[in-house]
């Protein structure tokens, strides 16, 4: 009925579909095992603290500097546009809302994925390649609860904090440019911002977003590392996939979350 070439094509489509579904299944099982095996990380919270240092504290510089510059650029560009309509006093609203709702969670999650996520993947991939994980199993230590779970929780804890710092830094950057440099009235900058930004509607939803991104990015990074072929090439491929997949997942999830959160607004 079909020509031989068509059969091969269709077969390859089926093959890749089954492969990706299988991988998704493995990843979900991996997540379930991680959550189930995280008792140790709470009994020995020191493990998590050590990982928060590597994922959170060491990401601080890039997050703070990027936040400041994003805020400053928003200040400039927002002023240019708002000035055309004579409403440059709304600059504070523009900067704060775009940072708290969107840019804070999304950009800091993208930075987090490339700064901390890639490092996690490479570390765990290399642990696997050098058979450290198998060695742990030999000693009856569960590598998931000893190595994976603390990193997972550290990512979940760090992400919302980093996003909040990013937004706060960005608002400060917008203030620097808008009020200090250009000379927008300081009172209307803050007062309009405060009357427009709602604590629950905007700030809390931003935190929820960054929390979801934190789960997604750490999950992807850890799974890619755990699943990496134990070769140099395999680890490098897994690291690349972590960054690419995380970025796509963050942006996709952001659209879905935004559609749900701000539907009525």
């Amino acid at each position: 009925m079909f020509s031989r070439g068509a059969v091969v094509d269709i077969r390859s489509i089926g093959h890749s579909t089954i492969d990706s579904v299988l991988r998704l299944g493995y990843a979900s099982r991996f997540l379930a095992l991680t959550v189930l095996g995280s008792g140790v990380s709470f009994r020995r919270f020191r493990l998590v603290i050590r990982e928060i240092y590597f994922t959170g504290v060491l990401s601080l510089i890039i997050i703070l500097v990027s936040g400041l510059f994003v805020g400053m650029v928003l200040g400039f560009q927002g002023y240019q546009t708002l000035q055309t309509y004579g409403s440059e006093s709304a600059l504070g609203v523009l900067v704060a809302l775009s940072l708290v709702r969107e840019l804070g969670p999304v950009v800091s999650a993208l930075l987090f994925a490339s700064r901390a996520g890639s490092a996690m993947t490479a570390e765990i991939g290399l642990m696997k390649a050098t058979e450290q994980l198998s060695a742990m199993e030999m000693m009856a230590v569960d590598p998931i609860s000893r190595v994976i779970a603390p990193r997972f929780w550290s990512g979940i804890i760090s992400m919302p904090l980093l996003a909040a710092m990013f937004s706060a830094m960005g608002v400060f950057g917008g203030y620097l440019i808008g009020v200090v440099l250009i000379g927008v009235d300081e009172g209307s900058f803050w007062s309009q911002m405060q009357s427009a930004v709602d604590y629950r509607e905007d700030v809390l939803n931003g935190v929820i977003k960054s929390f979801v991104f934190g789960v997604a990015v750490t999950w992807i990074a850890l799974f890619e590392g755990y699943d990496a072929p134990p070769t140099a090439e395999g680890v490098s491929g897994a690291t690349t996939r972590t960054v690419v997949t995380s970025a796509l997942v963050i942006l996709g999830l952001d659209f879905v979350l935004t559609a749900f959160m701000f539907r009525g607004v």
Binding site: S87, S89, L161, A164, M165, S188
Partner: protein
């Protein structure tokens, strides 16, 4: 790395993160105003404040001389009672008039002070008696249309 240094950094990180959240919630979200420098308070009653908000600027001749500190509804006069915090450096005469103005066509609203000829100055806690309420655009358009209709009716006669 030493255990105590690591703990210190993580502790600082968590505190900074929570601090940023608090700043976002209070400073960006909403927080009572903090004013810098010495100020004194003056009140004024308006029959309609339009879209005036706390922390809006108080200007005289276009220069910011103070801020709106508080707006409440006076149940005795059935009017809005607005409290201004004026910079100590600026003194205004007793017969100063206050009006609610709009910067630009769609801009934010502010309070304009116009000083009078009285030699006695406003003291802290005094009230401005001559006030002009915010212009409500809908009312203005309504009046304009009504006037036009009247004109048209007069022309027909």
């Amino acid at each position: 790395m030493q255990r105590s240094t690591l703990d210190l950094w993580v502790g600082l990180f968590v505190i900074a993160g929570i601090g940023a959240l608090v700043v976002l919630a209070l400073k960006v979200g909403n927080l009572s105003s903090q004013t810098t420098g010495d100020t004194y308070e003056i009140t004024a009653h308006f029959s309609n404040i339009g879209g005036l908000k706390p922390r809006a600027p108080v200007k005289s001749a276009g220069v910011v001389v103070g801020r709106v500190a508080d707006i409440i509804f006076d149940t005795q006069k059935y009017e809005a009672k607005v409290t201004f915090k004026i910079d100590k450096r600026y003194q205004f005469s007793k017969d100063t008039s206050a009006s609610i103005l709009t910067s630009g066509l769609l801009g934010e609203q502010y309070v304009g002070l116009e000083t009078g000829g009285d030699s006695a100055m406003l003291k802290p806690g005094d009230s401005i008696t001559i006030t002009q309420s915010a212009v409500v655009l809908e009312k203005l358009i309504g009046q304009f249309l009504y006037g036009k209709a009247q004109e048209g009716a007069a022309d027909k006669k």
